[in-house]
C-alpha cells in the first residue's frame, strides 16, 4: 500500500512547524507509527506532512515536583529513563513495555499517541491516573490542558489545527505512592480489550483509569470499580461484547489497584 501523494517538509523548530501547519490539511508526523498506517489505507490524506521528529522535544526529566516528558520521547526512551524507575511511576514503564512491539517502541512517541487519541491506546489510562497535564503551543501562545479535558472522543482532541504538543507533565506522587497498569490484550492486534491504571497514595486513596472499553480512556468516578463501571457506556464488538468488556474492566481495575497498593509500601 502506498499513501496518496503528499508533500514533505522537515521543521527546524517549533515555530517553523507551527508556520507550516498553517496550510489546510497539513499534518504533523513524528514517529509515524499511527499516521503512516492510516495514510497507507488512505483514511488520512494530508496535503503536507510536517516532520517534527528531529525537534528538541525529546527526553525525560524531573524538575521540582514534576516529571516532564517531551512529546517526542519514544516508548523505548521511557523504558530506558532512570527517572521513572520508582514505585510511584512504575505504571509508565509497565505500560510502555507492552505497547506495540520492539520496532514500534523504537519509533512511536508519547505525544503522537496522545494526539492520535485511539480509544484503545494504553498510555492515556496511565497518564489519567497520574493526573497528567498536556502542554500545547500554537501561534496564539501556550496553554496547559489537563489530560482529562484533552481527549474529546475517538481520534478527537482539543488540539487546534495549528497547535503542537510540546510536553506531558506529571505531578510527582507523594511519598508512599505506587502505580500499576494491568491490561488484557487482543492477541492479534495487541490493543487492550480492557486496561486499567491505578495510582495508590499513602492514605489509601486510589485513582483508577480505564481504557479500551469506551469512546475514550476515562477516570473511574467511584472507589468500587464495579459501581463506577455501571454508569459508563461500554463499547462492544465481535471480539469482546460490552458485557464481557465490563466484567474484564472490573478485573483489571481491581488487579491494578492491588498491585499499586502493594508497590506503595516500597516507595520510601
Amino acid at each position: 500500500m502506498i499513501p496518496a501523494p503528499v508533500r514533505y517538509a522537515r521543521a527546524t523548530d517549533v515555530e517553523h512547524a507551527l508556520e507550516l501547519l498553517g496550510e489546510t490539511d497539513a499534518k504533523l508526523i513524528a514517529g509515524g507509527q499511527s499516521l503512516i498506517p492510516v495514510m497507507k489505507l488512505r483514511i488520512a490524506r494530508p496535503s503536507l506532512v510536517v516532520d517534527i521528529s528531529k525537534l528538541e522535544l525529546r527526553g525525560v526529566e524531573i524538575q521540582g515536583d514534576e516529571l516532564r516528558v517531551g512529546s517526542l520521547t519514544t516508548w523505548d526512551d521511557l523504558l530506558g529513563a532512570p527517572e521513572i524507575h520508582r514505585p510511584s511511576l512504575a505504571a509508565i514503564t509497565e505500560c510502555a513495555h507492552r505497547i506495540g512491539d520492539l520496532q514500534v517502541r523504537n519509533r512511536g512517541t508519547v505525544g503522537g499517541s496522545l494526539a492520535h487519541a485511539d480509544p484503545a491506546s494504553d498510555m492515556p489510562a496511565v497518564l489519567l491516573a497520574l493526573e497528567a497535564t498536556v502542554q500545547l503551543k500554537s501561534p496564539k501562545g501556550e496553554r496547559a490542558v489537563p489530560l482529562v479535558d484533552f481527549v474529546l472522543g475517538p481520534f478527537t482532541t482539543v488540539l487546534d489545527a495549528q497547535e503542537i504538543i510540546t510536553r506531558i507533565v506529571v505531578p510527582m506522587p507523594r511519598l508512599g505512592s505506587g502505580s500499576a497498569y494491568v491490561s488484557v490484550e487482543h492477541p492479534a492486534s495487541g490493543f487492550a480489550l480492557a486496561g486499567a491504571a491505578a495510582l495508590s497514595g499513602p492514605d489509601d486513596g486510589c485513582r483508577v483509569a480505564v481504557t479500551g472499553i469506551a469512546a475514550q480512556p476515562l477516570l473511574l468516578a467511584d472507589e468500587d470499580p464495579e459501581i463506577a463501571l455501571e454508569t459508563i457506556e461500554i463499547f462492544g464488538d465481535r471480539f469482546a461484547p460490552a458485557d464481557y468488556r465490563r466484567a474484564l474492566a472490573a478485573v483489571v481495575a481491581r488487579r491494578a489497584r492491588e498491585l499499586a497498593a502493594e508497590r506503595a509500601k516500597g516507595d520510601a
Binding site: 502506498i2 509515524g32 497507507k40 506532512v49 516532520d51 512491539d101 520492539l102
Partner: protein
C-alpha cells in the same frame, strides 16, 4: 514531485530521488535494489521489512523515506562480509531458525537490535522482542534458540 534523499546505507553514502509519499522499504528495494528487506503484510504487523535506522530496528514500511534523510540504515545485505556469514546468520542456519526464509532478514535485524542492547537476554526477553516479527513456518522455538545461541557466539567473539 521528486526530492533528493541522501542517507548512508550499509556504510556507504547514497543519494536517490523519492516522492514525499515514498516509504523507506520502497526506497531500499526499488531505488537502491536492496531487496533483502521484504514486504510481507505491508500493515506494520509482520516485521519482514525490518531494518536498522541509526542502530534501532524499525519497520521500513512504516517510515517515510524522507524521514531517513541523513540517517544510517543497515540492511541484511551488510551482514555477511568477505564471504563469511555474520554470527547471527550462522546461528539461524545451525539452529533451524528458518524454513522458507521470508521473515528471516527481519528477524535477524530485530535480533541485532536486541543483542546490541542486551548481549545475554533471557528467553522471555527474546520472545517479547519478537512480538513484531511473524514467522509462519518455524513455530518460533528454533528462532528463540537461534537468537540465544547467536548471543553466546557474539559474547564469545567479543571476549576473544
Amino acid at each position: 514531485m521528486p526530492e533528493t534523499l541522501e542517507l548512508v546505507v550499509n556504510g556507504e553514502p547514497r543519494s536517490l530521488e523519492v516522492e514525499g509519499r515514498t516509504l523507506l522499504v520502497h526506497a531500499l528495494r526499488d531505488g537502491l535494489d536492496l531487496t533483502g528487506a521484504h514486504i510481507g503484510c505491508d500493515t506494520s504487523q509482520c516485521g519482514a521489512c525490518t531494518v536498522l535506522l541509526d542502530g534501532r530496528a524499525v519497520k521500513s514500511c512504516t517510515v517515510l523515506a524522507l524521514q531517513a534523510e541523513g540517517a544510517e540504515v543497515t540492511t541484511i545485505e551488510s551482514f555477511a562480509s568477505d564471504g563469511e556469514m555474520h554470527p547471527i546468520q550462522r546461528s539461524f542456519i545451525g539452529n533451524h531458525g528458518l524454513q522458507c526464509g521470508y521473515c528471516t532478514p527481519g528477524l535477524i535485524l530485530t535480533a541485532a537490535d536486541l543483542l546490541a542492547r542486551d548481549p545475554d537476554p533471557t528467553d522471555e526477553t527474546i520472545r517479547h522482542s519478537l512480538r513484531g516479527n511473524l514467522c509462519r513456518c518455524t513455530g518460533y522455538q528454533p528462532i528463540v534458540e537461534s537468537i540465544r545461541a547467536a548471543g553466546a557466539a557474539l559474547r564469545e567473539g567479543a571476549a576473544r
